[in-house]
Structures are given as C-alpha cells and as structure tokens.
C-alpha cells in the first residue's frame, strides 16, 4: 500500500560487516513484531542470504526467529526501522540499486501481505 515509501531515501550506509538502510512498513497500521514474516534484499541484482539480514528497531537488532516470538514489541505505522545486511567486503562508494520486500501475516488476508520497493541510493564515499 505504501510500497514506494518502504526504502527511505538517502539512508544507505556502510557498516563494519556490510551495509544498512532504513525502511518503513508498507501496511496501513503498525503491527506486533511476530506478524513480520521476513525480509528480502537484493543489491545491484544480487540476492542477500535471508539469514544475514537483521531488523533493527529503536536500537535493538532482531533475527527472524526473534521476531517470530515477539508478540509484544511493535513496529509502528510510518516508523523508520533499519535493515542491517552482512555483505563481506562491503559496498563500494557510489550508486547502488537496492530492492527490498517485507512480508506481514495479516489475519484477515488469505496469504502474506507483501510490500516491495526498489530505489537507487548513493553510498557516500
């Protein structure tokens, strides 16, 4: 629904282990973390192994298994979270195409609600 706002502009940066960028929920309300079924990330056409993605909300990093079990924490509507990706060697400075998708388990929908976005972001040198 808010797919085109999922990846936050100008948010790509390098980390010690790879890179990170910011995301928003694509659904029209916030959800319990346990409703997050997973994220997919592709960088310059190369898929990122899903188990190397961490979801970081308010400074706390979650693995998928940790999200699955957290029925109290909430990712709020419009709240900016971060996907931290392990990417050996890191990304070169310059422009990169990031594709990201999120899947949410919404009880009134038959299958997962999938939101996705693709943006070209500049990694400052």
């Amino acid at each position: 629904m808010f797919d085109r706002y999922m990846i936050v502009e100008d948010s790509l940066r390098s980390t010690d282990q790879g890179f990170a960028f910011d995301i928003r929920i694509t659904y029209y309300r916030g959800v319990a973390l346990s409703l997050i079924e997973g994220f997919e990330v592709t960088v310059d056409g190369q898929p990122v192994p899903r188990d190397t993605i961490r979801f970081v909300l308010r400074g706390v990093a979650y693995t998928q298994a940790e999200l699955d079990h957290d029925t109290d924490g909430r990712w709020e509507f419009g709240e900016i979270a971060t996907l931290v990706v392990e990417w050996p060697g890191g990304l070169s400075s310059g422009v990169h195409t990031i594709e990201a998708a999120q899947q949410l388990r919404i009880s009134y929908l038959p299958g997962p609600l999938r939101g996705q976005d693709t943006k070209t972001l500049l990694l400052a040198g």
Binding site: Y28, R29, G30, S34, R74, F77, S107
Partner: protein, 300 residues
Amino acid sequence: MTVKAARGVTLYSFQQAYYLREMSLEDCIAACAGMGAYGIETLAEQMMPGFPDLPESFYGQWQGWMERYGTRPTAHDMFLDIRRWKDRSLTHEEMVASVRRDIDHAARLGCEVIRVIVITPPEVIEDCIPYAAERRVKLALEIHAPRHFDDEWIQRHYATYRKYGPEWVGFTLDMGIFVERFPRVIAERLVRDGASEQMVRFVVESYDAAAGGSGAPPDLRWLRAEVEGRGGNAQDLRAADFAARMLWSDPARLRDFMPYIHHVHAKFYEMTDECVEYSIPYERVVPILLEGGFRGYLSS
C-alpha cells in the same frame, strides 16, 4: 449518543500525511475541525503508537484535544490478530480478551462505537456484549465488500445479534457495497497505467450493466477470463479484477437492518464539484438511513 445523523472523518483519510510525518495526530484532528467535521474516528494501531499500552497521559491529552478543537470521538477501528503467533491461532478466550482490550480503549477515548473487523467470530462478539454494555460502547461489525447483507457470514452474525437487540451490537456499513457505476477515477488510472481504453470501456460497461438492480449482488468474476480471452494485458486484467472486487447491493435491503446500523464508512471514490459521488448513489442510501432512525456518524 448523537441525537441525529452527523458527518465526521476517519483519520484513515489522513494516513499518508501521518505516515510521512507531515501531520501529527493533533494536526489531523485540527484539520477535521477546520473543515467543520467534528466527529473523529481513529485507528489506534495507526496513529496511537504504543497501543494497547497507552499511558494515562495519552488519554488526558486526547481529552484536551477534543475540548480544544470542539471535536468528538466517534469510532475506534479495531483489529484482531487471530494469527498473532506463527504456529497457532488465538483461542476463543484470547480473542475475547483482545476485543475487551479494544472496548477499554474505545471507552477511554469516549467513542460510542467500535468498528469490529469482519473476521471476528460471532461467538467472540457474543461473549463481549455484556462488557461492551458495561462500558457503553457499541460493537459494530464492518460490512465491507465482498461481503454484503445476505452473505452467509454476515447472516450468522446477524442471527447472533438479534438475540440481544441492537443496543450494544450491530454493524458498521461501508458505502463501498453500493458501487453502482465503475469509478471513473479508477478507469482513468488504469488507462494511465497501460490498460487499453477499449478493454477498460468493456469492463466498465460490463460492470455498469450488471450493477444497479435489485436482487442478489452481481458476480463479475467471469470478466477476468473474458478479458484474457480478448487478449487483455496485465493492466486490462487489473481492470477486470477491480470490477470483480467491487460490489453492488440494493440499498433497499438496508431497511431490514436499520436498527442494527450504528456507524457508516462514508467512503468516496470521486466526489464531483457538485458534491455528488460518481459511483455510489448516496442520494438513495442516506434517506433510508435517516428514515430508519440512524443516529450515528457518516465517517468519511
């Protein structure tokens, strides 16, 4: 309780501005008051971060806003995360507890109505009626396309509600069940997105021909295969899917349900400069609501 039908706004209509942090919750309330719409419907899970554990101070602030802007809380839109856990569904007791939590929140806001999400089982609502009555909040299941008055699930709910009468339980009516003409803005958008004018015209004419009568709502799922057979592209197929998802039901059917209609989602696809909704015959629905004694809000 409102003494007569009144107009209001659901802050759902401001969701994008809130999402992008261009407007705060207070800004949305102020904007509604500024346009003379004093009834405010809210989605706690959208604009009240921290729900269901909102601090006392939030409710104080909320009351302050209502006083400052001369607004009134109308409805709280609740959700039920039946699949909150990955490996199992909520039990009946957990669902009842979840709805009671929403009743508490609605009562704290001062709402008269909870928009109950349609997947809530009738037995869960039934077990919440005494608590809703105690907190003086009406539970109003949303009738939203593709469901309509004579849908089996809605009828199951209705049969349950009739055991208790309409004081604390009933329905939220979504005006999207009365789409009599294919929305022009959607047809134009589909063409901009790459649908062919000819195919969209076929879909629109098919929808418009099927809608508008009395009797059972038309089923337009056949359109997809027809559009496919005529060589329709992906956007043409989207047009067919829109037509199949939209719903026309006869507003006259509303008469039988009237005492149970507590809230209306007065949605619109295209409000013309003459203040006429292009697709939904408000002029035929609103009189039925008024004649039926509707005293809630038409929330847009």
